[in-house]
C-alpha cells in the first residue's frame, strides 16, 4: 500500500478529472497507473502532479500509462515538432525509409491510428506514410 499512498495525489487527480478505465496496480515494487484521459490537458495535469511527487522522475517506481481518448471523428492533424520537419516513413519505425516530410504547423490528413505510436498520414502532395504520433495534434 506504500506506493499507492505515495502517488495518491495522482490517483485522486485522475478520478476528479474523469479519467476512465482507471487501474492502479502494484507489481514487483512498481506501481502501474493505467487509464484513458478525456483530453491532452488532463494527461498533462497528471504529469504535473507526478513531477511534484517525484521531481525529475528518478524513483523508478511508477509507470503512468494514461493515454488520451481517441476521437473517431478526427480527420486532420497538425505537425507540432519543435522546429524541424516531421519525417513520413514507409512503415511504423525509425528504421523505416523516409518517403516524405511535413513542415512544422502544417495540417495533414490523418488516414489511420491503428498503431499507438505511429499514425498513418497523407500530405497535400499525396505523400503517404507513418509519422510519430507524439508530433501530431488532432485538429477539431
Amino acid at each position: 500500500m506504500a506506493l499507492q499512498d505515495k502517488y495518491q495525489a495522482i490517483t485522486n487527480a485522475a478520478t476528479a478529472a474523469g479519467v476512465s478505465n482507471l487501474q492502479v496496480r502494484e507489481q514487483d515494487g512498481v506501481l502501474y497507473i493505467d487509464g484513458t484521459a478525456p483530453s491532452g490537458a488532463v494527461k498533462d495535469q497528471l504529469w504535473d502532479v507526478y513531477g511534484q511527487v517525484d521531481p525529475n522522475f528518478t524513483s523508478g517506481d511508477l509507470i503512468l500509462n494514461v493515454n488520451v481518448a481517441m476521437d473517431a471523428a478526427v480527420t486532420h492533424v497538425k505537425v507540432v515538432t519543435d522546429s524541424s520537419n516531421l519525417n513520413i516513413r514507409k512503415g511504423p519505425g525509425t528504421d523505416q525509409p523516409i518517403v516524405g516530410k511535413a513542415a512544422k504547423d502544417e495540417i495533414i490528413t490523418l488516414v489511420s491510428r491503428s498503431n499507438d505510436q505511429w499514425w498513418l498520414v497523407r500530405t497535400a502532395d499525396g505523400e503517404e506514410g507513418y509519422s510519430y504520433a507524439q508530433y501530431l495534434e488532432p485538429v477539431q
Binding site: 514487483d28 522522475f57 517506481d61 509507470i63 500509462n65
Partner: protein, 163 residues
Amino acid sequence: MKILRLIPALLLVAGLSFTSCKPKDADVKASIEKSLKENPSTAGVLVMVNEGVATLSGEVADPAAQAALEASVKAMKGVKSVTNNTTVTPPPPPSPAPVEFATSDVLTQAVKDATKDFAGVTAAVVDGVVTLTGEIKKDQLPKLMMALNSLKPKKIENKLTIK
C-alpha cells in the same frame, strides 16, 4: 420357569428394537458432514451432534447461506434441533488482472523510436527494464518520460543527468 429365563432376552430384544429407530449421534454427524462437503459454500462448516442437537460452527459467505444451511441440517434424519454458531465472513474480492508488458523486441524498437530525437540520451532495454543514461535538458525530460511510459515497460530507471 423357562419363560422367566427368557424375559431378559425379550427385554434385550425390545430394547434393541426401540433404539434402532433413533440414529446414533455419530451417524447423524457423519451424514451431515457428508452433505456439507458436497456443497462448496459449506465446506468450511464444522458440526457436532449430541442427543440429536446439531451444533454448527465455522465460516459461511453471507447471512443467506447461514440460514439455508440451518434449514437443511434441521431437515436431516436424526436432527432434533440446530444451534447455529457459524460466522459470516465474506470471501475476499477477486484480485485484479496482472499488468501486461510489451514483448522485448517491440519494447526495444519502441524505446529506440522514442529516444531518437533526444540527442544526449542513451537507452538500454533488458527484461522490460528501460535504463536511461546520458543527459537531457530539464524541460525536455517530461516529454521523454511521457513517451516511454506509454510503451508498457516494467520499469524505467532514470539515470540521466538533468541539465
